[in-house]
């Protein structure tokens, strides 16, 4: 092998260059993880181009994994009416996901191998790219349990279409879906490659309903990641649940062993809430700094709550300013989203900025593709969003244009294939 090795694994081209190299790659992969594939999702490896994560494990990958920089999210509808087709597809997706997360091709042969007269089983645009921390997270929408596949009695209770929130202007062509795939990576081409190949594997069984590209993670999921800024220019998600807060994860994010007796397959998984939130960027940019900070409730410079301290200081909602009114506006975004205003619930946010070019009026078609993981949307998302839609000062500059709710099962256990337990 003449190519330089990536920091924690091998480049795709090296890995994919035939049998001997593939065997070497598998060994390097195992060494890179150290703790082994079964627990890799629980103990995230440090990020970076060479980082690689395991698909299998007691919790799904791509939730507490250090948030990567890029996203390709896709929702699918199942076109087949066959339960066997669905089961085979999910198993095949799991196999491909596992390979791609290792930095290998989507199929066993790879992009430049296999029968010369057949198209390769991997599309090839990721040749030479490192695993780039790719995670693939697959979820099931409420409609998957509508009876077409004999799964109606296995639907977790809260897995229903999200209700209409005040002000929602949802586009059906950007909402819902039988299945979803969240592909996150530090290289956009690696994320797109993953979705493209899974869509290809699904042809005939599924069809892409909508998909969304995202960049610039808007949350941190580990304590050593710097809080990023959203397109309003503010730090967002400072109070996010982090990977090392294991008790909080069990309380708010991971589905408990007996939480949904109707859906034992879901234990260890999580609900994924997706909202495409368009921002009226040009209007926001015309707000005074005073108003911007008042609306958010944090300083724009370092993200400190307006009540003082540094970014991670706890906001003091009781602190009074001039005229005895609280220094942090009770309707500011930081106040509305705070656990004390939401029965103590916390969510794990994993959103991305998006810019889909410009609108017909020449405005940025941009915003936040909000993704949150919680173990019960009826307690952890719906009440909060209902209140925010009514009162949050920020809502004036937001428009929810897409929505989805999905149940993400844990990764497969050794010897199993993805979603085996859903059909068991």
């Amino acid at each position: 092998m003449t190519e330089p090795e990536a920091t924690e694994g091998l480049s795709r081209r090296t890995l994919l260059r035939g049998g001997i190299a593939a065997a070497a790659g598998a060994a390097a992969f195992g060494a890179g993880f150290g703790t082994g594939r079964g627990t890799a999702a629980e103990t995230p490896a440090p990020g970076g181009a060479g980082a690689a994560y395991a698909f299998g494990g007691p919790h799904p990958a791509g939730i507490v994994t250090p948030a990567q920089d890029r996203l390709h999210f896709a929702a699918f509808d199942v076109t087949s009416r066959s339960r066997a087709d669905l089961r085979a597809l999910l198993a095949a997706w799991g196999d491909a996901a596992e390979r791609m997360m290792r930095g290998e091709g989507a199929g066993p042969a790879g992009p430049t191998s296999g029968p010369y007269d057949a198209p390769p089983d991997d599309t090839g645009e990721a040749i030479g790219l490192p695993p780039a921390g790719l995670t693939i997270t697959i979820g099931f929408g409420p409609s998957l349990f509508d009876g077409r596949f004999g799964l109606a009695d296995r639907r977790p209770g809260p897995l229903r279409r999200l209700p209409h929130f005040p002000g929602d202007t949802l586009d059906p062509a950007r909402s819902d879906g039988d299945l979803c795939v969240q592909a996150c990576a530090d290289d956009p081409q690696v994320a797109v490659h993953a979705v493209r190949n899974l869509a290809r594997i699904g042809f005939g069984t599924t069809t892409v309903r909508w998909s969304q590209l995202g960049f610039g993670r808007t949350s941190s999921t580990t304590s050593d990641q710097v809080t990023p800024r959203n397109l309003f220019g503010f730090k967002d998600g400072t109070a996010n649940i982090k990977a090392d807060e294991t008790a909080a994860l069990d309380q708010h994010v991971w589905v408990g062993a007996d939480q949904y007796p109707e859906a034992p397959w879901f234990a260890g998984g999580s609900f994924l809430v997706s909202r495409r939130i368009s921002m009226t960027i040009e209007t926001w940019d015309q707000q005074s700094l005073r108003d911007q900070e008042n609306i958010i409730g944090r300083s724009k410079s370092e993200g400190a709550p307006m009540s003082g301290g540094g970014e991670f200081a706890e906001p003091d909602f009781a602190l009074k300013g001039r005229g005895g009114t609280p220094i942090i506006d009770a309707a500011s975004h930081v106040a509305m989203a705070h656990p004390t205003r939401n029965d103590g619930v916390r969510i794990l946010r994993r959103g991305y900025n998006f810019v889909d070019g410009s609108t017909h009026l020449g405005r940025l078609d941009a915003g936040l593709f909000f993704i949150a993981f919680v173990n019960d949307p009826t307690t952890h998302y719906i009440p909060m969003q209902t209140e925010m839609a009514k009162r949050d000062l920020l809502v004036e500059y937001l428009r929810h244009t897409g929505s989805g709710l999905f149940a993400v099962p844990p990764g497969p256990r050794p010897g199993e294939r993805f979603a085996d337990t859903l059909f068991a």
Partner: protein, 389 residues
Amino acid sequence: MKSPHVLAAALGATATVGLLAGCTSNDKAAKGDPRHVSVTSSADACELTATSAPSGHLTFAVKNTGSQVTEFYLLAEDGLRIVGEVENIGPGITRELVTTAGPGTYVTACKPGMKGAGIRAAFQVDDSGEDVAPTGDVATQVKQATKNYQAYVRDQSAQLLTKTVQFADAYKAGDDDRARQLYTDARVHWERIETVAESFGDLDPRMDAREADVEPGQKWTGWHRMEKDLWPQRAKGYTPMTPAQRTTMANDLVANTTTLDKRVRTMSFTVDQIANGSRGLLEEVATGKVTGEEEYWSRTDLYDFQANVDGARVAFDGLRPVVDKRNPALAKTIDSRFVALQKLLDKHRQGDTGFVGYDALTPAQVRELADAVTALSEPLSKLTAAVVG
């Protein structure tokens, strides 16, 4: 995003300044900008990096190193009249006061805990030769502007109430043609003062909610509910309201409008509220009218468009003498962009006071209007800083 290392270095070098904002401020001071003064407000001290500055636009970057909320004032020589102030600075926060000061003696004051006279010191502003308008003159103009705007808002509110009563009568009587005419006539007065009218959180959802704004379990009432009933063409399988339902709906609107009018009568406005209102009305145009979303059923968005522009124009005209003094270039730009926007709107007039329906506009015409709105709202967003500065 600055790395933590950069931050640490900056903090180490200059103990008195804040984090990100503080660095920037200090850079300016370090570069020798004599009009930039850093202020450190602690529990028992108010330290300024300079005790004098040349006349013109001054910036005070106030860092609160105490544990209580603080304020900073620039007062006239008498120690009473406020030239500029910055309030609600939380512990650890840095905030800037940007103000204009002519030559003379002033008093600075930090007020940790927001109590008492504060920690005061003299501050000298030397004559730089730069033309700074005499403040007494502007003060009179400000007073006049606020008085005029208050009268305008009251007048529009009174007309809104009169026309709403007429609308309600026609609607209840089943005189739909007249009700449709009065719908646009009355709403013009709402839209001219929309930023004031919608500021009451209890009334606005009951008076001006669109169908998508309604939350589950809440009854949809107000203007747009009756709009749908009067223009049901775009509604699928629509069931018209019964006379009894119409009466309830119309009476409810009249009651809410009466409450609104009563409240508006007691309101007064500061110059920054007037300036923000002007900008706010253009935002309403940008997000609701030019996109054809406000009057979804009647397609009469251009009436509202014009009314928002009217209201923004009145607010700006009232402040014009102040802006002419403080930032004449900005006044000229805003003025010319109002003219350009009005010219475009006039192309779509129909009859004496009316406008064509939104659907009659081509995509290119919508784009042209949207561009003119953006061209105006950008300089308009600088109005507040110009009138308070």
